[in-house]
Symmetry: D2
Subunit: 235 residues, 4 copies
């Protein structure tokens, strides 16, 4: 059993009608739906949002979270530094972190990467094709060699992140750009997966291949016991 | 269920009394014992040796092998290139490969690494201490922060291998050397783990931590389905 | 002063009129021209071809070569294993190796990578755009953020190579594919750069950005003294 | 010409007699001496300390700094976050950063790594031997295969940093520990080198091999022009 917490900024859906129509219960509910759809995976799913106390992530919730999934877009700066520090600490202890789309600019991701995490973008509704460049990676399990998303916001290189430990997906965009769309990192004992697809008005998380990637990513990012880590003075 | 094939040169044990006393049924039998000792792991273990036809590795055996464990020492050159090519091809398709101790000089490892795989050594029976440098890695699951092997053959740097994808263990030797003792690689869809400990007269594979590492390595190296790989001309 | 040897199969140009017209003196001469064009770089350029004795690469030539540039396409199998072993050994000692386009299937590259080096391709003359994904890399020095090659042969993922140490370029193709087009590796003390662009009938090596990349790659791949490597028995 | 700024906390030397005796002009002066000793390298050296305004690192100084060398120990927390942000930004733009010994806990290094950077230590004055594990790396140029520091403070694994892009040195300690002592990273366009040796009372920076490593590291970390990085909206 994997305890998954899906965090969503949850502002767009309440403030913009166009977003609310696509995600009437919030993007977190749609992501939860994509993840629940596989009966072979035993997930306990919880959601948390920005406007809850502690952004829904008090210490005891993070403590029992195996994998945290993060969506944010327009209110990154409103996330309290104290909560960011707690997320970082839990990742270093082994909690998995899945960072989606515009959360490339979220505080937890930027703090764990140490870079600006900046990129190029264009909101043109063009076609994206994701290619698997690491077909042996567990996050690519059962995913097609390539798959198309018909209408997307473009994200383009350069993507200012550390060279990924493993690069799983590279995106091709109709307008002439490429992007490293699936990037794996380890920080401390924790596993981090950045996955580009997602949008507040295009229903990306209903795509079958995207759902498969998300479910694989939760499996991959789940903590392993590992070996003890003791720091400080030795006798 | 994981289908594991343990390959052993199986010459030392028959030719040298000192080796035969430590490993009366061959090192492969001792390794098999270390791997079988965990009831939670469902392994189907097969062994193969140099002097069998096809070195015990005809195509149908490799075809049904999930993870191949390789031990060799004095007769690397007698392994037929045709069998080496078959092993390489199966690794690229997803078969795991665990390379032990003096098999750093085995043909399959050298071919998959592309380097000389050379190192320094001294047979002095000194103490080795292995440190986990990647405590979040599944191969380190349940392994102590460090553990000692009281009598070993020293292997020292430089170790002429490609920079590992993940470095899990670094050894300290009483005589003043260090060694990258647990190195993870991916080649094609296959996972490769080089693990330094082992010897033809010191009973290394009876050590509890070593056994744990081997069992973890078999899990880690087991194939995942992944994504299709199609090569060649596209329409 | 860098001693550069440009190796060319040199068959196409003599056998096919269409190729001979684009490269009347052989592709090696065109590559040499692209490299000579920078007065700030002090290169001593030599060429070698398949049909010379020892393929133009006897031990003394390799011994004094700092960087070897390799082009081959239809006659990979005719390269003698002995010469391949010599090239590999020299790379491990520190000689740089630049592998161009269809030389992904050359024996030296396959031996140093340990994988099949296979890929997808389509000869359609479509447009390619190369994006710099590692703008801090010396091979990208002075290269535009992206640049176009108007008519190319497409190479697509999956590209069966080890995960590069550094990925410098990713190509976008008009027909919908992507490719890791600039891949850096270290093997032993030697530096290896695979660069995708090139073709036997499209005049790719006359492009200004391609020339810049080649000149940067020669600089980057040039040997450094490094630290001694001693292998074998220690007292 | 490389513009090098050596930053030193500069408290120990003024507050503790034992430290002041070893470093009468501050550790920064000793490091500067080690770097100046090579007539082939054209360095413009500047120093900066904690108690100067802006810690000696106002924007215009950072702007003209090619490589920043950082020493700190007991007052990491007194470094202003604003200066840390400026250092991080300059690294992402291409400035090199050399992080020495106890500066593993400095704010700039922790921010760029995204991890705790914690480790084990023991102040016992025991012997350290550094082994070159990447003999082809430019930072190891002209450095012995291994070299000893007779009296050191021990730093031991696990070292909570991201897996280095290249691991150049591994230390062996008399007391039984190992440590990844020379770690290379790229962040944005900038190069970062963490080097373990150093101490406030042992005269580590007067060692010849250590000096050679520092000089090589300055060369390696110097900015390259690279390719433009443009972020934000594309038309």
């Amino acid at each position: 059993m994997v305890a998954l917490t899906i965090w969503n900024e949850y502002r767009h859906e309440r403030e913009h009608d166009a977003v609310g129509e696509v995600y009437p219960d919030g993007i977190h509910a749609t992501i939860a739906g994509a993840l629940e759809s596989d009966p072979e995976r035993d997930l306990e799913i919880r959601t948390a949002t920005l406007d809850e106390p502690d952004h829904g992530l008090p210490p005891d919730v993070l403590e029992k979270t195996d994998v945290l999934c993060w969506w944010g877009h327009e209110a990154h700066d409103e996330v309290a530094d104290e909560v960011v520090a707690r997320v970082q600490e839990r990742v270093l202890e082994g909690m998995g972190l899945i960072v989606l789309h515009s959360a490339h600019f979220s505080k937890p991701f930027k703090r764990l990467m140490g870079t600006s995490c900046d990129l190029q973008y264009r909101e043109d509704g063009g076609r994206e094709r994701l290619w698997v460049v690491d077909p042996g990676h567990p996050i690519a399990d059962g995913v097609a060699e390539s798959f198309d998303l018909p209408r997307t916001e473009m994200y383009g290189e350069p993507f200012d992140v550390p060279e990924p430990d493993r690069l799983v997906f590279v995106s091709w965009f109709e307008g002439g750009e490429v992007f490293r769309s699936g990037c794996c990192y380890r920080r401390g004992k924790g596993r981090i997966f950045y996955f580009r697809p997602g949008h507040e008005t295009y229903p990306i998380y209903e795509d079958e291949n995207v759902g498969r990637v998300l479910r694989n990513a939760v499996d991959w990012a789940s903590p392993t016991e590992g070996s003890p880590r003791t720091f400080g003075k030795r006798d």
